[in-house]
Symmetry: C2
Subunit: 356 residues, 2 copies
């Protein structure tokens, strides 16, 4: 199975549904004096301009895996997890000061610009932009939740799925808090970083969507546990690969400027391991370069070299490989139909192979 | 019925339930490396240090009004609307740059202070504080939602109530966006201000909670419509009174520094009406004073005088009176039991009488 192709095919099915939900909100907003119509248009642009739809695809396969038959309804309902993802990204982009998402201007940045023209703005344009980002994020979160409430699955299953969903949101938010704190603290233990990966990525990106789909398909108990055993190692592997790309990837590959993870002072497994293994000199250089806002190309190359020379890159790669193997070893135990298992297997391989 | 006493009695019943939910979360957070334990402790402190519990009380009476019998369960479930309120307040306090809530340090302010001690913080302490406020707000929102999911009412009613709940969150967020925009734009029409009052206060504070309770009590259709006819005028009256207090109230009464609404440049019905009626000179003075950060005591008195002299204060008071009468005239049409009707009537009178 070619997972990239599969995700592309899935996108063709889900994107029109996402568009429909957002268009309905845009229409409704026009009745409210149009004041937030622009922001919802921007949300639509951001959402449809990029993203792999990995979460709704996993929700879909979680449902199909346990024998769910309502093809159209599960696709419509999986829009929820994508919109909740967008809600969290809107808040994340404020936190990370990012001005683009999927190549489109972020909400807070857009309003920072608009705000500059307001007579009473003083030097509050940035604060106004962030405020609008917070609010618009909250609105998109509410829309995402509503998609599940309005779905046509039995209410008892919806309520079960919702318990799961809010657990996901709380977990990813906890991971985000851990991430922000360790970033500014400039210090983290391997165990802390692994916890962040588990909360921020594994539970949110892999386990949560699979669980949601499986629950809506009527599954519970043991099958959910087996899904977890697959999801956590695969999700952590996904995040480690992301971190490798964040330091070694080209701008084209990662969609943000080279070295931005270094500039932000991000505490990744690579950084933690390199600091652990480095001699006095290298450690000092790492600490100096990490979080340096005006870092040069030469310094990025120096940083990369230290990551390689300390064995941190090899360590991360081996760890990824181990985790992928661990995750894959659990696929057979999940009571999923054949095609869903193939999808899980393809996703696992994709994690290991995402290229630098 | 003495509504203040009634709310106090209700508080004694609901506060232990709020505490229980937050304590459970605090315990759970300790398993996640304690990184967000402090923030949840702070949320608990903020929540329990103040607030009237008006929203859960209305939810309770909405349920009892339609004949609901499960006293303990509705109180437990109404914790949700209070926690969702706290989630929105946490975000609101970031937006309004407020450092205290219920006399307790706000989340973003607390973390701004903590952040100053982080080695990598540079001049990002305020941004770090705001980031943590965004995240902690999102977590509290998730907890608030979960309270409804975990309640023991029939799933079909829960799903109905949830549709309502997310509508409430989306509506209040839209009102907040309108509010922030008009504040910086320093210009609003009476109609726009009234829309904000409807979205930000009436639907959120009065209609939403009553609807939630009534739905969980099994009501639908016509009764919800009648509740709306009561709630919208009463909620708008509540907000107008709030605005009068915001300009004319003492610090003790309003819990924030005198004149802070003027300093913030808030577009209230008083300001809009005064600008509409003022002659050239007064209009210029109003515009000059509105949003002036270092406004003096004399200037606040001058501002108040213009609000009085232009007839804006009288206009607002008359409007309140009219709206309260309008709301009250609908109480009889709501198919509620006697005691619930008494509560609505007492709430309506309370709106008209909140003193300067």
């Amino acid at each position: 199975m070619d997972v990239k192709k599969d995700l592309k095919e899935f996108r063709k099915k889900i994107d029109p549904e996402i568009e429909k939900v957002l268009d309905e909100m845009i229409e409704a907003s026009k009745k409210e004096g149009k004041i937030i119509t622009d922001s919802l248009e921007q949300v639509k642009k951001i959402t449809l301009s990029g993203g792999k739809r990995l979460r709704p695809a996993l929700m879909y396969w979680g449902y199909k895996g346990v024998g769910g038959k309502r093809e159209k309804e599960i696709i419509k309902t999986s829009v929820s997890i994508e919109l909740i993802h967008i809600f969290l990204l809107i808040h994340d982009d404020i936190i990370d000061n990012d001005s683009k998402r999927h190549g489109v201007e972020t909400i807070h940045k857009k309003y920072e610009k608009t705000g500059k023209f307001f007579p009473g703005i003083g030097n509050n344009a940035k604060h106004f932009g962030n405020s609008m980002g917070i609010i618009v994020g909250d609105i998109v979160g509410a829309i995402g939740n509503r998609v599940i409430y309005n779905s046509d699955f039995p209410p008892s299953l919806i309520v079960e799925a919702l318990k799961k969903l809010q657990g996901i949101v709380a977990t990813v938010a906890i991971g985000e808090a851990q991430d922000v704190i360790t970033e500014y603290r400039r210090k983290a233990l391997e165990k802390e970083v692994m916890d962040i990966y588990k909360n921020k990525t594994a539970k949110y990106t892999i386990e949560g969507p699979l669980h949601l789909g499986a629950i809506l398909g009527g599954a519970g108990g043991k099958i959910l546990e087996e899904i977890t055993k697959f999801s956590v190692p695969i999700g952590v592997a996904f995040q480690i690969q992301d971190d490798i790309l964040g330091i070694f990837g080209s701008e084209k590959k990662i969609g943000k400027p080279v070295g931005s993870d270094i500039r932000e002072g991000k505490q990744t497994i690579l950084v933690v391991k390199a600091l652990e293994n480095a001699d006095e000199n290298r450690r000092k250089r790492l600490e100096k370069l990490l979080g340096k806002e005006n870092i040069t190309g030469d310094e990025i190359r120096e940083f990369r070299k230290i990551i390689i020379d300390t064995g941190a890159l090899d360590y991360a790669k081996e760890k990824t490989q181990e985790l992928v193997e661990e995750g894959k070893s659990h696929i057979e135990k999940i009571e999923f139909d054949k095609r869903a298992k193939n999808f899980l297997s393809a996703i696992a391989d994709y994690m290991a192979k995402r290229d630098i």
